[in-house]
Amino acid sequence: MTFSGPRPRPSDQTTEFWAATAEGQLLIQRCDRCQEAIFYPRVNCTHCGATELSNEAASGRGTVYTYTVARRPTHRAFADAGPYVIAIVELEEGPHLTTNIVGCDPEEVAIGMPVELSFTPAIDGIALAQFRPATAHP
């Protein structure tokens, strides 16, 4: 099953992030000073405050930090999705992000489950970074 929620509209600050999604890349920022990685795009490092940040593509590997199964649609765009999984995934680089877990039954999702990036098809140059259960061979 594939599904996709309301379309995001890039701001001036996130144009590069969203453009990269059409190329199959999930950009995170790494602080040039403390080397911590952060998500979503900011103007300063949330760990040390430095403004020297570099974009890098996330590996796409992570684990489910927590999740819920939405039994009632949280937006009209999900009206026909049936129960769907909203999750916070911890990327192997460290940052947490909000996503959907797809490619498995919602009842199979568990905290700690290894997952991998699975972009939705791009529409108008924007793809959404969803995740699916990791394949056996990383």
Partner: protein, 395 residues
């Protein structure tokens, strides 16, 4: 701040599902006027006003309300802390009084509630105010597309993480809703007055967002709550008991739960610790916990992080105690928002009005005998904004 101010009057509009004929502004004004009258002060005695952002009023909310009510104020402010706004207003009013900016401040909260047509997709989610302007909120870009919209799924993810890290049983969480319903059955104005429920009822109610059942989730209503706060001289001059502010703390850590420092160690720890330290009171002295309860998990986390029990033992604490007005650890004696109703920001304020009533000794059939000290916690967003208060019968 200890002993520098007190709540002396409250006003409250009975919660209803449909407030047709009223606006948030009109409901807030009515509650405010009732609170002023209840305090024994004259209309013209009020010289301070605190409000929260009001639907349809995009800016200058305090002056809009003052003009609507025909009042002037030497201190007026918007408190924008979500569900923590009500509690946040109380210490700000006392601080303003202590600072000499005003002598009597009315704190206004309220919401209208209508049945309305479903929102159109292109209108975007209710939570996003930036949908049609060039500047987007991170929330609109990075949460909404994945359906992380509204409080249910956010608290559900918190609950699942808590259950993973520490564990609690569905029955323990359900007991919070059941005992608060018992309290609501002693509260004639409560929206669910006269409708007792059991643990089985809670667990049999529909799963809305795993692991949250329908009866563990607040129901939106219309209504309003208000409180009058004065300085010590005025409080002593009035022929009524006062609920003195003994300590307050506030902590804001994030907007969206995804980016919170922790999903299970909440900002309540810091806000409650400051409130207790300022008051010189310890959690074991508290006779009423009047704490924000948008969900049952919120109550469990608040009891832990306020210091009533250790982290990870909230479920057992709930098992071991009777949370009703006549129990050994009374929680939300008005029914909490789960059973009293959540009238927007006034839902959070209802924890204040109930604590004031209880300390003043006029909580009717649900009065806690000889109550000296109450703990109030306000919670905004998805555990985002926290305000803790210690209130006492003596300054």
């Amino acid at each position: 701040m200890r002993g520098r101010g007190a709540a002396v009057g409250v006003g409250e509009i009975k919660p209803v599902r449909n407030t047709e004929g009223e606006t948030a502004l009109s409901l807030m004004a009515k509650a405010g006027l009732e609170a002023i009258e209840d305090s024994g002060l004259a209309f013209g005695d009020i010289d301070g006003m605190l409000v929260h952002p009001i639907g349809g009023v995009s800016m200058l909310a305090p002056s809009t309300v003052l003009e609507f009510m025909g009042m002037e104020a030497s201190f007026a402010e918007v408190v924008d802390l979500g569900g923590a706004s009500g509690a946040g207003m109380i210490w700000r009013a006392v601080a303003a009084i202590e600072a000499g900016m005003c002598k009597a401040c009315v704190c206004l909260t309220g919401a209208s509630r209508r049945k309305r047509a479903p929102r159109k997709l292109e209108q975007g989610p209710k939570a996003s105010t930036g949908w049609n302007i060039p500047d987007r909120s991170p929330f609109a870009e990075f949460e909404v597309p994945f359906g992380n919209i509204g409080a249910n799924v956010g608290y559900a993810m918190i609950a699942n993480r808590y259950l993973h890290e520490y564990g609690a049983t569905p029955e323990q969480l359900a007991k919070v809703a059941v005992h608060q319903r018992d309290n609501a059955n002693m509260t004639p104005d409560a929206i669910f007055h006269g409708q007792p429920i059991t643990v089985d009822d809670v667990l049999a109610s529909p799963m809305v967002a795993d692991p949250l059942h329908l009866l563990e989730i607040v129901m939106p209503v219309g209504g309003a709550s208000a409180v009058v706060v004065v300085g010590p001289e005025l409080a002593r001059s009035l022929d009524r008991p006062a609920a003195w502010l003994l300590g307050a703390g506030e902590q804001v850590t994030h907007k969206t739960i995804t980016y919170a420092p922790s999903l299970t160690d909440t900002a309540i720890k810091a806000s409650a610790a400051r409130a207790f330290a300022q008051s010189g009171v310890t959690p074991d002295q508290i006779g009423l916990a009047s704490v924000y309860d948008c969900y049952t998990i919120t109550v469990l986390l608040t009891l832990e992080d306020s210091g009533f029990c250790a982290k990870g033992t909230g479920g057992r604490f709930i098992d071991d105690h009777d949370l009703r007005w006549n129990g050994d650890f009374p929680v939300n004696t008005h029914g909490g928002q789960l059973s009293f109703g959540q009238a927007g920001i006034a839902g959070g304020m209802s924890h204040v009005t109930e604590a004031v009533r209880q300390i003043q000794g006029r909580a009717g059939d649900r009065q806690i005998p000889d109550l000296d000290l109450a703990f109030v916690n306000g919670n905004g967003g998805i555990l985002s904004e926290q305000v803790s208060l210690v209130l006492g019968a003596q300054p």
